[in-house]
Amino acid sequence: MQVPGDVGGGGGEAGDMRGRHRIQAELKKLEQEARFLEEELEELNKMDKVSTALQEFVVTIESKADPLLPVTTGAAYQSWDRWFEGPQDLRRCKCWFL
């Protein structure tokens, strides 16, 4: 007897195959993810200590001239103060200058 929803005689088997393929694809994904995590763990074991990174950080911030610091290294430029000169084109600029 044919049950509503049956598609020919092989509908059940086709469904099983699809399910199997899906599970195999999921497994492959998980295996790949596990490999990536192992690689990441290996990298972490070889990683520099945080003290090295902090030392590099200190050297970097002291090496460049910074117009927003009261004490800074390197050359200063007059253009750093252009913000206090007011609008250049009074006809078109609507900014108000404090």
Partner: protein, 269 residues
């Protein structure tokens, strides 16, 4: 929600809740109402476009971040997606992407910050997997910005803190934690961050209109621009430095943009 100049300053890209990124050519003729025509629309995201940035020195390539949890690299001239970062592939973000920042020293690398509380580092040449994931924040990451030398980056989050991470090792180098309010009000969230040109200062905009200037080394607040005369009267939504680092611009829900610069005496050593 986001806009960016092209490297040559001739185009602007902007994106938002229409899930698209529109490109405007600034040399086009504006219409009678002064509106610029759209020269191209980049469609394909399945969620809002939260952030966009042109790849430095490449007028034709743009990266967008989206509420659909992915970042996309676009060819602006053809409107085609070159690569999708995240989405179907593992190691993508698991919630909305809110912010991105491209490494100016190695323009193949960019970071994205997300509502999944992580930052991910991507290589433009390898879309299939994030290079590294950075954990630490306890809330949505609203803003990410590379440090000037491209070796570390700063973040701002709904958890009320800013953090500094080392890009290569993933170490969290510093947390910038503000004092809780005396009235026990909820901690304001960080909406936007930017570094001064040396990296010694971190500017952080907050939801209550504060704009803290953090000393990145000492993790101390140097100044709160929100307490100065003529400060913003609403949430700080965005901020950025001029290209020579001599001024900061802040944007706010009070509908104003303000430019801030150092007016004291400078000592050069």
């Amino acid at each position: 929600m986001t806009c960016a100049f092209a490297p040559n300053g001739q185009s602007v890209a902007c994106g938002g809740l229409d899930s698209a990124c529109s490109i405007f050519n600034l040399s086009s003729q504006a219409d009678r109402d002064g509106n610029m025509p759209v020269s191209r629309v980049l469609t394909g995201h399945k969620g809002y476009v939260s952030s966009c940035q042109y790849v430095p020195d490449q007028e034709t390539r743009l990266i967008t971040g989206s509420g659909d949890q992915t970042c996309v690299l676009w060819d602006v001239t053809t409107g085609q997606r070159i690569s999708i970062f995240g989405g179907e592939f593992p190691s993508g973000h698991t919630a909305d992407v809110l912010s991105l920042s491209i490494n100016s020293l190695n323009t193949n690398m960019f970071i994205s910050g997300s509502c999944d509380t992580t930052v991910r580092l991507w290589d433009l040449r390898i879309a299939s997997r994030a290079v590294r994931t950075y954990h630490g924040h306890e809330g949505d990451i609203n803003s990410v910005k590379f440090f000037p030398d491209g070796q570390r980056f700063g973040t701002g989050s709904d958890d009320g803190t800013c953090r500094l991470f080392d890009m290569r090792t993933g170490h969290q180098l510093q947390v910038y934690n503000r004092e809780p309010d005396r009235n026990d009000n909820e901690l304001p969230i960080v909406t936007s961050v930017a570094f001064s040109i040396s990296g010694r200062l971190l500017f952080a905009g907050y939801s209550n209109g504060d704009c803290y200037v953090w000393d990145t080394l000492l993790a101390e607040v140097v100044l709160n621009l929100g307490t100065l005369q003529n400060s913003h009267e609403g949430r700080i939504s965005c901020l950025g430095l001029s290209s020579d680092g001599s001024a900061l611009c802040t944007g706010s829900w009070d509908k104003n943009l303000k430019i801030w610069a150092f007016s004291g005496h400078r000592k050069i050593v």
